[in-house]
């Protein structure tokens, strides 16, 4: 029984560490571009999207901002995955001359020009809002129960949140749902992270 549950553990261990934490060696080695969770939902004519990164393994009390990282919130509106997203909102970080970090959001629905503002502050954009900053990791999962399951050979979840008190760096977008859907009534959303190639 323990042997079989160990196999299960190997299959699920990444999931235990968070919804997308430590899901691949390359991402795990680079916390600034290691996505932990992506959320997307609609409410009252708004479309909200959240992309979290730099999770439990890199928890800090300040956000993790990297000028060479690029984050994408991809929005498909035609249900055709083969042709990619109809709109991708790109997010980058940059510093000013005195070391303050800011965020730049391009292709924000309803905003012609890039949306720029400081991190750790709600930025009002044409047609919505942008927030970037360190947040309590909203992912919850009973990792301790999972470990107990492993050691006892029986399912032993208690529901306790292993991720209590752990932080992530969050990108949160508040968009006009109709504009984001190009006039339609649904969208398909996913998030990506990327790194600027080092030029020799």
């Amino acid at each position: 029984m323990e042997v079989r549950l160990t196999i299960l553990t190997l299959a699920l261990v990444g999931g235990a560490l968070a919804a997308d934490h430590i899901d691949g060696p390359n991402a795990a080695a680079d916390p600034a571009v290691d996505i932990t969770d992506v959320f997307a939902w609609h409410e009252g004519g708004r479309l909200y999207a959240v992309l979290n990164f730099a999770g439990a393994g890199a928890t800090t009390t300040t956000g993790m901002y990297d000028a060479d990282a690029l984050y994408g919130i991809h929005i498909d509106t035609d249900d055709d995955a083969s042709n990619g997203a109809e709109r991708t909102v790109w997010i980058r970080f940059g510093e000013d001359a005195v070391g303050n970090w800011g965020v730049q959001v391009t292709n924000f629905p309803g905003a012609g020009a890039p949306v720029v503002g400081p991190v750790e502050s709600v930025i009002t954009a044409p047609g919505g809002h942008v927030f970037v900053g360190v947040r309590n990791d909203p992912f919850y999962f009973d990792f301790a129960g999972f470990q107990s399951t492993i050691s006892t050979g029986n399912l032993a979840f208690t529901g306790a949140d292993f991720f209590a008190g752990l932080n992530v760096t969050s990108i949160v977008l508040d968009m006009d749902a109709n504009v984001a859907a190009a006039g339609g009534d649904h969208v398909n959303v996913w998030g990506t992270s990327a790194r600027r190639p080092i030029t020799p």
Binding site: A11, G14, A19, D23, H42, A67, A97, N188
Partner: protein
């Protein structure tokens, strides 16, 4: 003098760090005190400061000047020259000089964020995510999957390894831990014929969050922070759920809710940005 000021203005437009402070025009009344027409030229200096507000747009452009912008920000101090115009009590133009004071308000370079300008297409994708735990639980080629796209998902390129992972899970759990449930079935010979993958594929392939505005929000209609997305996904991967796939085992997608997830510690905010502070 004029040429110098215009040069300064040009640099200031690039720097554009004081834009938000434009509203500070109250010093205008001081200008009204004056009557010396000729000094109106100083007032024009103030106009330079006002243009600094336009410079904020330049910051948006951000494609330019990079590190040098910090120094340009210092030019905001030049805008302060306009303030001199106001102090000079130089006729009505002095009011314009008050605008120049806006420039003085800016810390050199502060708020003038500099961003990389490389084409997104040239970046190297490291990670991607939508449906929680898909990569971690049922994907074997994890890095390749992270660097891939929903377009590839849609070709069912990962269906084989998803099915193999489902077989792993069921071999480990069905006979005992899931003995009180009706598990879905896995077909290793014809992967797409298995009940489990027939249930799972519409949920996780392609790997994106489908958000239907015409139905209430809540996983799997999008994913709201706090949704028991893992337990719902586990049910779809492990149990024979009614209405999914080709057979109905009497389960719902909510039958495992509470197994591994109860409640998050973070108090969700009712308003944007929703996620709680640390």
């Amino acid at each position: 003098m004029r040429t110098l000021l215009m040069t300064t203005l040009a640099a200031f437009l690039v720097a554009g760090c004081e834009g938000p402070e434009g509203p500070e025009g109250p010093q205008g009344p001081q200008g009204a005190q004056g009557e010396q027409g000729p000094a109106g030229a100083d007032g024009a200096d103030g106009a330079d400061g006002e243009d600094g507000a336009d410079g904020a747009d330049g910051a948006d452009g951000s494609d330019g000047a990079d590190g040098a912008n910090g120094a340009d920000g210092a030019n905001g101090a030049d805008g302060a020259n306009g303030a001199d115009g106001a102090n000079g009590a130089d006729g009505a133009n002095g009011a314009d000089g008050a605008n120049g004071a806006d420039g003085a308000d800016g810390d050199p370079g502060a708020g003038n964020f500099v961003f990389m300008t490389d084409d997104p297409a040239t970046y190297l994708q490291v990670d991607r995510s939508a449906m929680p735990a898909v990569n971690t639980a049922v994907i074997a080629s994890k890095d390749a999957y992270n660097e891939d796209t929903p377009a590839t998902d849609a070709t069912l390129a990962y269906a084989g390894e998803i099915n193999a992972s489902l077989d792993f899970l069921h071999t480990a759990l069905d006979a005992d831990d899931l003995a009180t449930f009706t598990p879905c079935s896995v077909d290793l010979v014809d992967p797409l014929a298995g009940e489990c993958i027939q249930q799972a594929a519409p949920l996780v392939v392609p790997d994106w969050h489908s958000v239907d505005y015409t139905s209430p929000a809540g996983f799997p209609n999008g994913r709201v922070p706090g949704d028991p997305a893992i337990d719902i996904t586990l049910a779809v991967l492990l149990l024979d759920v009614d209405g999914l796939g080709s057979t109905n085992g009497g389960h719902t997608a909510g039958d495992l809710i509470g197994l591994s997830q109860t409640a998050d510690d973070g108090i969700m905010l009712s308003t944007f940005p929703f996620l709680a502070a640390p």
